[in-house]
Symmetry: C2
Subunit: 143 residues, 2 copies
DNA sequence: ACCTTAATTGGATTGATTCCGTTTTGTAAA
DNA sequence: TTTACAAAACGGAATCAATCCAATTAAGGT
């Protein structure tokens, strides 16, 4: 999934092309790590000083619905990253300092299938948290 | 782990015994499902009308630190339940309507061990979400 | 009973997220 | 290329969970 594919996805679902949306995707794409809404806003305001929080949240919500970004939450804040692979389902090891990830190819649900009764399964979450090599020590996280 | 053990844990760590703390544990114990701070407050105010949010949050935070309750988060709200078993590590299938759980005995970390390099692991989360038998359909969740 | 300190209160504050009326902009039709 | 209309963005207010704080109350040891 690249920028063009994502923009096509927007168009296919009747959303308009705007330079703000393109920049937002650009940011997610080049950072390729989990970002909070505030981090996205800060980066976007370098190009669009008056940009509103509402624009960030509205577009993130659209992006998430279309599968362009995927979200999670830690330290009481939601974070989002470019959906790294739309074909194969997998999970992540996440650095809680800088939001960078490593992939876990296995999904524990495969071992669970058939197990749960009396529950209509709607989703699952498997994440490993830690500190990446660049962030360990006292120094500020390198992005 | 029962009420007495939990109260002993408090005492052992130098916290005072109060009827509010006992009631709070009582509630977690008899509900044995995930509760939000607001739900705990509402139930406690039946006995202590003037009870403050701060008391709920402060005590939850102490309970979590001592391992008396365990917390998670969904729909943008933190929730807590009595720590169901202090000896064996396991995970849960959670009903996102009523907060009741079923146990998953396996932990996917066992299969991962040895895998991750360049990451100092600090924690992990494996949860399956769904709707329990009592909550499915249109009717209100039965607690 | 008294003293010291922790616990609780109640109200203010923070901070993330959502909401909303107004203005601007993208896009398709004329 | 203009025009028209709906969607997007703006800016600021509102919401809501969670935290903070100064003043009061209560627990537990002496
Ligand atoms: Mn990935
Ligand atoms: Mn359990
Ligand atoms: Zn890192
Ligand atoms: Zn349920």
């Amino acid at each position: 999934m690249d920028l063009k594919q994502a923009l096509d996805l927007l168009k296919k679902h009747g959303y308009k092309y705007t330079n703000k949306r393109e920049l937002m995707m650009d940011i997610f794409l080049r950072e390729s790590r989990y970002l909070s809404a505030r981090e996205v806003l800060d980066q976007m305001q370098e190009d669009f000083p008056g940009l509103s929080f509402d624009t960030v949240y509205r577009n993130i919500s659209i992006f998430e619905k279309l599968g362009i970004v995927e979200g999670t939450e830690w330290d009481g804040e939601r974070r989002y990253r470019f959906h790294c692979n739309r074909d194969t389902h997998h999970h992540h090891i996440i650095c809680t300092k800088c939001g960078r990830t490593r992939e876990i190819r296995v999904c524990p649900m495969n071992a669970i299938l058939g197990e749960p009764d009396n529950f209509e399964i709607t989703g699952h979450k498997f994440e490993i948290y830690g500190i990446c090599a660049d962030c360990e020590g006292d120094h500020a996280p390198r992005h």
